[in-house]
Amino acid sequence: MNGAAPAVVVRDLVKRFGDFVAVNNISLEARPGEIFGFLGPNGAGKSTTIRMLCGLLRPTSGQALVAGLDVAREPERVRQNIGYMSQKFSLYNDLKVIENLRFFAGMYSVPAAELKERIDWAIDMAGLAGREQLLTGTLAAGWKQRLALGCAVLHRPPIVFLDEPTSGVDPISRRLFWELIHRMADDGVTVFVTTHYMDEAEYCNRLVLIDRGRIVASGSPLELKEKSMAGDLLLVECDQVGKALEELQGAPGVTDAAIFGNALHLVVGSADQAIPQVQEFLAARGIAVTRIEKIRPTLEDVFVSLTSLNRNEGNRDEGDKRDKGDKTVGTVTGREKGQP
């Protein structure tokens, strides 16, 4: 949007493990100040991509520039320019708050002249003033999370990677956390978020959905919800929901059906056509529809529809050999889980 050089540029990035292509020709760009969400099923290649961007794993081919540095040529310098915060926060629970900050400042080589200012900044940002001497292990999850964020950005990295940063945290702390992230982004920091939580994804400016090593969709949360679903989404309230689900799974015109409490979500080609059809279909099977209407898909609906679409196509194109891809995905996930 602005003229600044992109913070992250990825071109035709590939990573193979043996025969398995974990990351298959990914290209993307993230601007300074952008909050970039990276979504995908387990084993889709998210962690592999992030590990390459962090300079922890060498790409098989293609190029990735992070803060203008080539991750394959200058992994050390890349690591000095990024902050990384994992789901588990990687803080030392048996150290005091202030000791954790000093430890991470040392690790990231924060210059002595800036040390005090940076630590004070982190304490203020995390709202931990007066709590510097507490043992980190005694802090509630929300505080720990903000401390972990403070530790990860002590060295003022222009790019920050967050891995499911708010999983399990209470909603109020979560909102405060995102407020901090948006402020960092306003100051020009690029934030990469990987997550399974669709409500975390809503906080991102741009989302990239990856499946089986490829990008299958990208856009803002709103764009994805409005444009990327193949078809419309219907909400159906009826009696005998379980039976209705079973019947509708193979029904003509219904691509997908999922159950939500006493209601169903159906993916159909066009709502106008499908509404009378579904009503008739269910009535013929003795199921009474009490409500049926078109609704806006949630990010989860989009995610599921795009990844399963991709799955079916994959099967069709490449036969059942590719289907066994899952097998390999499982193994690689295991490998990906090694601490970055």
Binding site: S173, R175, F260, T307
Partner: protein
Amino acid sequence: MSDSGNAIELNGLTKSFPGVRAVDGLTFAVRRGEIFGLVGPDGAGKTTTMRMLAGVLAPDQGSATVAGFDLTRDAEPAKHHISYMPQRFGLYEELTVDENIRFYADLFGVPRREREERSAELLKAAGMAEFRSRLAGKLSGGMKQKLGLVCALIHTPEVILLDEPTNGVDPVSRRDFWRILYTLLDQGVTILTTTAYLDEAERCHRVALLHEGRMLFCDTPANLKASLPGAVLSIVCADPRPVRDLLAGIEGISSAMIVGDGLHLVVRDPQRMIPELRNRIAAAGLSCDAIEQVAPSIEDLFVEAVQGGHGQDRQDARDDHGGQGHTEDREHQGGGR
């Protein structure tokens, strides 16, 4: 009480650990044939509650019945009617999928024929039929969770207790998971599940929202969302911060939060507010692409309840966040209408 059509009843259930009251006077009932969700963040008391209901942890006070058995007196016989899947289900990584299932079937005394039928059915529903001879250690995270579920369900219990079954599982596998749960309902079971994903609450018939050991609400997801005082407006704009700064503090807006596409506001009167917001944004020389009412989430309700209801929490949230500006400076108590 035990034959009331409730599969699970909790009455003032309480459990403390040194320094924390993990579960504080919890009272609710789960009807037979229901999928009931215990929803809340880490530390809300979900796991402690589940462990008490599974008969593996004794309450300090209060009582609970599961499948008609009083857990304070008859915890052992109750266990034959309960299937409990803890957060870390004990799969044997060096055994195959089939061998794990066989192991649990033997443990629960499931006859061979029934085991074969049931495991075939469950594996198919889980989308795992082709992976029967795969080592459990070689499965992806989502598949491990699903195998845990298959093992826990290999016998036919009356009550199924699932502790965060979908934690770390991607949305596609999560759907498989829920599909399995709903098929089980047809067989007359009752399911109590916990989740820290507030959006997952939508998939349950009824939910109890937990916060710090206490229950905030208990109702159907639709009723819960309808009970949010006010409505949620979405403002789509490219540069949300100045818009937020402009709007925060206006009477009738109780919270304003920046999201990826713009802002989410909780407002008292959406119909009156939408034109007013347009005017104010235009008058300040700012712009927005759209303002529309969106469905509130369970999270919106949770935040309103915790911040509005309990002075203490609210104070914390604020302390917590001294330098933050006015976002959390909610409610204009003086104002009213």
